[in-house]
C-alpha cells in the first residue's frame, strides 16, 4: 500500500537516513521547487561523536540528539516520515518501507554504517555495541548494574569479572570510551562503591593493528597510548578477538580474560539496503562515481559512510567520517540542482579538516591539516569543535553547563539505571 504523502507535480527526492549527510543534503535543497521526503527509523538526528559520553554518564541523550522535524520546521519543501526501508525496486522507482510503498524521482541513500562483528555470532550476541543512543544507554546501565552485582557476590573471580571492562577497537570511539571508563574508576566509582576495592576494576583496550588511532600519525598513536596508561587503561596492540561467550573473551594470541563487559568498537560496515544489484557493491559499501551516483542507476545516489566514491585517485573510497558525509551532502545538493536544470555536474572532492580524538580530562590528540598537537590544548580544541558542531543552541548550552560542571566537580551526574540493560537483580 502506498504511504499517505501528498502527490504533487514536483520531482520527489527521497532521502533515506537523517545522519550528517542526509540532513546536510536536505537543508541545502531548501530553495528548490521539489518535494523532499526524508525517512529515518528514529525521529531524531544523532551526534555520534559524543555517543560515548552518553554511554559513560557524562551527557544525557537529549544533549546529543535533535528532533529532525525541528531542524526543518521552516522548510516548506520538506516532509519527514519515521520508517525503516526494507527494499529498493529500481525498476519501479519505488522503495518498500515498514509503513508502505513510496515512489521517488530521485533516491538518495544516506543510511550510514552499522556495527560489524565480522561474522562472529557469539561476540555479536554478548558484546555491547555503541552505535545508537539506546545502545549507549545500555552500556551505561551495564557498567552500573555490574557494580551493583559485584557488591552482592562473595565469589571473588566472579566479582573480578564483573569489574573487568574490555574495549575492543583502538579507533577514536574505543580510546574515548576506555578513557572515560578510566575517569569513572579514578573519580566516581570509588565514592559510590566504598565497599568494593576499586583496584580490582580493570580496563583493557584491544587493538588488532600495531598502534592505536591508526588513521592518525604515529606521533598521535604514541601519545594516545601514553595518555590511556595515565588513565589506568591497559593497552594491548597486535591483538584480535576470536570469541566471547559473555564470561570469557579469547584473543588471537591465545590469551584470555574473564570479563562480563565487552564493548565492541572494532568496526563498522556500510548499512546498505537490498535491491541495487551486485554491480553497486564495493566491499561492504555502495560503489558510487565522483557524482555520488550509484553504479548502474541513473537516479539513485549514495553518500556518507554507506558510499564509497571510487575514483582513480581514491581507489578505496573516503574514510567513514562525519566531515566526508557533510561535504558529500553539500556537493550532491548542488549536483541535484544542476541535474534539474540540465547543467553539468561537479565531481566531489574531499577537503580534509583534520582528525581528533580525546582520552579524557586535559588529554586529547589533534591533527589539523598543517599542525599536530596533543595534551591540554588539544583537549580544549576538541571540546570547542564538538560544542560548536552540535545541532541546536539549547543543546550547546546544556552540554557546556554539563562539561563545566564535571570539570570543576570531577563528577558526572548521570548514574541512573533508568532502563536496565540486563534483567533487574
Amino acid at each position: 500500500m502506498p504511504v499517505n504523502i501528498s502527490v504533487t507535480n514536483k520531482p520527489r527526492v527521497v532521502i533515506i537516513g537523517g545522519g550528517f549527510g542526509g540532513i546536510e543534503l536536505a537543508k541545502k535543497l531548501s530553495r528548490e521547487d521539489i518535494q523532499i521526503v526524508l525517512l529515518d527509523k528514529n525521529n531524531y538526528h544523532t551526534f555520534q561523536p559524543l555517543l560515548y559520553q552518553v554511554a559513560t554518564g557524562g551527557l544525557e541523550p537529549d544533549s546529543i540528539a535533535f528532533p529532525i522535524r525541528k531542524i526543518f520546521k521552516h522548510q516548506n519543501n520538506f516532509i519527514f516520515r519515521m520508517a525503516e526501508v526494507l527494499r529498493i525496486n529500481p525498476e519501479h522507482n519505488a522503495i518498500e518501507t515498514s509503513i508502505g510503498e513510496i515512489e521517488y524521482d530521485y533516491l538518495i541513500l544516506a543510511t550510514g554504517s552499522r556495527t560489524n562483528f565480522f561474522g562472529m555470532t557469539d561476540v555479536a550476541t554478548h558484546a555491547v555495541p555503541m552505535k545508537t543512543i539506546p545502545e549507549a544507554l545500555n552500556l551505561r546501565s551495564l557498567v552500573l548494574q555490574n557494580f551493583e552485582k559485584a557488591l552482592l557476590t562473595v565469589d571473588l573471580p566472579e566479582r573480578d569479572s564483573l569489574m573487568t571492562f574490555v574495549v575492543v577497537g583502538g579507533g577514536p570511539t574505543g580510546i574515548e570510551t576506555a578513557g572515560a571508563l578510566g575517569e569513572l574508576k579514578n573519580h566516581i566509582l570509588p565514592r559510590d562503591y566504598p565497599e568494593l576495592d576499586i583496584n580490582k576494576m580493570q580496563i583493557h583496550i584491544i587493538e588488532k593493528s600495531d598502534r592505536l588511532v591508526n588513521a592518525m600519525s604515529n606521533q598521535s598513536s604514541i601519545k594516545a597510548e601514553e595518555f590511556l596508561k595515565r588513565f589506568d587503561v591497559n593497552v594491548w596492540l597486535n591483538t584480535g578477538v576470536t570469541s566471547y561467550d559473555g564470561k570469557k573473551i579469547i584473543f588471537s594470541n591465545g590469551k584470555q580474560l574473564l570479563s562480563q563487559s565487552v564493548i565492541w568498537a572494532a568496526g563498522v560496515a556500510g548499512a546498505s539496503i537490498p535491491g541495487l544489484g551486485e554491480k553497486a557493491s564495493f566491499g561492504n559499501r555502495i560503489k558510487v562515481d565522483c557524482y555520488n551516483r550509484v553504479a548502474g542507476h541513473a537516479n539513485i545516489f549514495a553518500l556518507g559512510d554507506v558510499a564509497a566514491v571510487v575514483t582513480a585517485k581514491n581507489p578505496n573510497g573516503h574514510p567513514m567520517l562525519a566531515p566526508v558525509a557533510i561535504q558529500q551532502g553539500s556537493c550532491l545538493a548542488n549536483n541535484l540542482s544542476r541535474l534539474l536544470r540540465n547543467e553539468e555536474l561537479i565531481p566531489f572532492q574531499y577537503q580534509s579538516l583534520g582528525v581528533m580524538a580525546t582520552v579524557g580530562r586535559n588529554h586529547a590528540v589533534v591533527e589539523l591539516p598543517f599542525v599536530k598537537f596533543q595534551g591540554i590544548l588539544a583537549w580544549f580544541v576538541w571540546m570547542f569543535v564538538h560544542l560548536m558542531t552540535l545541532v541546536g543552541f539549547r543543546n550547546r548550552l546544556v552540554v557546556f553547563v554539563n562539561w563545566t560542571w564535571s570539570y570543576f566537580s570531577y563528577d558526572r551526574g548521570l548514574r541512573l539505571i533508568i532502563r536496565p540493560f540486563r534483567k533487574p537483580l
Copy 2:
C-alpha cells in the same frame, strides 16, 4: 540465602524505599552509631512533582532523579542495595528480597504509593500511568508516536482518536499534565506536524468529584478550571471512568470518547508489603501510631504515603504529600535516636506548608498557610519552590537553564522517541 552485607555489633536499621521520607530519615540518622541499610528497586531518588515535565518533553530524567549513592557518599553508617522487597517476616526480624534475606533490628517501610486502577483490569492494561520515570518516558513516546501514526492514516475517525488525549484525575498531576499537553498543542506540535490539522487535537480532563484540585479551596478549583480552558483543555467534572479498551473510553454518565491515549492520574494506593498481618492495615495504607510505629509490631515503622498516622485528631491519616513524608522522616529519625537511648518518644505533628499546582506558562494556583493566590505570581512561586527543593546543585542548574530556555523560546527540546513505547511502526 543472606545478602552479603557486613555484620557488625551495631543495631541495623533497614529502610525500604528511597523516596522523600526514606532519604530524609537516613540523612537525619547520619550521626548515630548504627548500620543503616537502604533498599530501593532503583538506584536513584525520583523528584515526583516534576515527573509530568519528563512525560511532556520539558525535562530529561536526569534532571529530576538523583543517584542515591551520591546523596550519601559522605555518610559512613550508610549502605545501599538495589533490591525489591518481597515479604516481611516479623517473627524472624528479617525480610525476603530479590537479592536474598536481610535481617534487621529496626525496619522502616517508606515504600510510598503505587497507581490505583480501582480493580478495572481493562483500564490497567490500556491506560498509561505516570508514577515512575520509565512510565513518564513511555507517555512522552506515546504522544509522539501517535502523532507519527496520525500522519500515516487516511481513516479520519482513526486519526482523530490518535489526536485525542484523555487525562483521568483532576488532582495536581492531572491538571499539570493536561496543561502541559495544551502547551504542546499551542506551541510545539503545529510546527512539527504542519501536515496535520492541530484543531483536531483534543485534550480532556476527567474528574469524578464536582471540582478540580479538591484538596485545595473552592477559589483555587475555579481558577484551575479557568486556566485549563485557556490552554484548550476540556474539563469534565462529576465524571468517572467505567471502562477503556485502548480505543474507546466509557464514562460513568454513559458518554464515550474515541482515544488512543488515556493517561491515568486518578489515584494511588499505599505500596505495602505482605507479612505485617491484618491489624496493620488501614484501607490501602499501613496503620501506624503517632510515633509511626506499625500496629502490633514494636520494631517496625512506616512513614510517608504508605503510612496512615491514625489518631483521634487525624482519623483518616495525613494527605499523601512529599512534605508529610519529609516531616515524618525527620520526626522518626529523632524518635529512633531516642529509642536507642531509652528516652521518651515525641508524637508526630504535621505542619502544613501549603499546596500548589501549575497549569502552564504564567498560570498556577498556590495556597500558603495564610494566603491564597493564582496566576503569574503563583507560577513564579511554584517554579521557585520546585527548583529549590530539587536534590543537587547540578540538577537545579540544568532545570533552570531548560526552563529559562523554554520560557523565552516557547520550545521544548525533548521530542525524541528514544525507547518506543509501542512497537515501532
